[in-house]
């Protein structure tokens, strides 16, 4: 059912209060997706979350705010490389002196935590400090997925979605890799995020208002849930040129494919009360009409 709610909404003067009220719904147990298209640091060009979006760029990762961008526990027992016994150390790597050291390592030479502890489909924030990389390429690795290649010394953050429960750590990504790593952190970033790894299938980011623009051919942002959301879900969007659109009674399984050009997006695993519908409408309008 399309309620087709229009724009005749009184926006409360305290703009932050609407987001706080939406956050309270999720905090109270509502499950779903919360995309705030204007939120700095939540939308990225690539699915690995390295480059923030800009007008005309693709959108490969949207960090959903449904769980407040909370980070889960640290998965790396020995983040500072002080304990070699904590690592499964591949060829041409050593763990010594508080560093992981690669000497002429090649692709497939990895330093990984011994036990598997990632969840397939979950997204993890990786932080890696590389004080020295004299040759070759490095990358963090989470649940068998390598992150963006690192080509020079520095501190790097990325968001990687696990494709297995094992193979977490870091590794060489080319022959002749020689360098040192000071620290590695891997923590789940909680939430039902929207992801697209295929470059051509990513929507574009546009502003005035901030929105994801899908081409109607092959663009889609995918979300995977740990369990089906059910048959009475609610999906709310602000569609430029139309206004707030709230769909009720939606059947959403363990995945949600977003293909509709819109600014903010809210998905809930249940029906809304009248008050909640008014809140969503006000919030979506506020976010969907930003300059």
């Amino acid at each position: 059912m399309n309620l087709g709610i229009g724009l005749a909404v009184t926006i409360p003067r305290r703009s932050g209060s609407l987001a706080s009220q939406v956050a309270a719904l999720f905090a109270a147990g509502m499950k779903g997706i919360w995309r705030e298209s204007s939120r700095a640091g939540a939308l990225f060009v690539e699915n690995t979350g390295v480059t923030p979006v800009s007008p005309g760029s693709t959108v490969g990762l949207v960090l959903s705010l449904d769980q407040g961008l909370t980070l889960g526990p640290e998965l790396i027992v020995d983040t500072e490389f002080d304990n070699p016994a904590a690592w499964s150390i591949g060829p041409n790597w050593t763990v010594t002196g508080g560093q992981a050291v690669a000497t002429a390592a090649t692709t497939g030479n990895n330093v990984q935590i011994a036990a598997g502890n990632t969840t397939i489909g979950s997204t993890y924030q990786t932080s890696i400090v590389v004080p020295e990389l004299s040759s070759g390429l490095l990358a963090a690795r989470v649940g068998s997925m390598y992150g963006p290649t690192i080509t020079a010394s520095g501190t790097y953050r990325a968001y990687l979605t696990a494709t297995s429960t094992i193979n977490t750590g870091l590794g060489a990504r080319s022959a002749g890799t020689t360098g040192k790593v000071d620290s590695l952190s891997v923590r789940e970033i909680l939430g039902n995020h929207q992801i697209q790894s295929t470059s051509t299938a990513r929507p574009l980011y546009q502003v005035a208002p901030p929105r994801a623009v899908f081409d109607g051919v092959d663009d889609v942002l995918n979300t995977t849930f740990s369990a089906a959301l059910g048959t009475n879900c609610t999906v709310g969007r602000y569609v430029p040129g139309t206004g707030v659109v709230i769909l009720t009674g939606q059947n959403i399984g363990t995945s949600f494919a977003d293909t509709v050009t819109s600014g903010p997006l809210l998905v809930a695993d249940r029906a809304l009360t009248a008050g909640e519908t008014a809140l969503w409408t006000a919030y979506l309008t506020q976010q969907g009409t930003l300059p």
Binding site: E46, L204, V217, D218
Partner: protein, 115 residues
């Protein structure tokens, strides 16, 4: 990293090989291409497949010339002849047009999926 827009339409006969090559050459960003089916009527058997969107500039260069494609494949450890690269690009319509402009020009439409 620079991106450019490309609309790539390829014949159904070559789509699987093209998708495989894109995945091998571009890695995850090139995986999962050519899954949207096309034909002249919107129903029936797919005659073409499409991928449209932003790709890396260097990948666009690979798609612009059979020799460049073969060189990139060779560098990536993929065995392919120049003749096959030539045939693949001949079977593809690659443009910077918006997808529906390209489809109109080619007389193709999205194949409707059965719900």
């Amino acid at each position: 990293m620079s991106y450019v827009h490309r609309t790539i339409v390829i014949t159904a006969a070559k789509a699987a090989r093209a998708a495989d090559l894109c995945a091998q050459l571009a890695g995850p960003p090139g995986s999962g291409m050519f899954t949207t089916a096309l034909n002249a009527t919107g129903t029936g058997t797919a005659t073409h497949y499409i991928s449209a969107g932003m790709i890396e500039e260097q990948f666009a260069a690979v798609l612009s010339d059979p020799g460049v494609m073969q060189g990139a494949c060779t560098s990536a450890g993929i065995s392919i002849t120049l003749a096959e690269c030539t045939a693949l690009l001949a079977a593809a319509d690659i443009s910077s047009e918006p997808p529906f402009v390209a489809l109109a020009r080619m007389g193709l439409m999205l194949k409707q999926e059965t719900i």
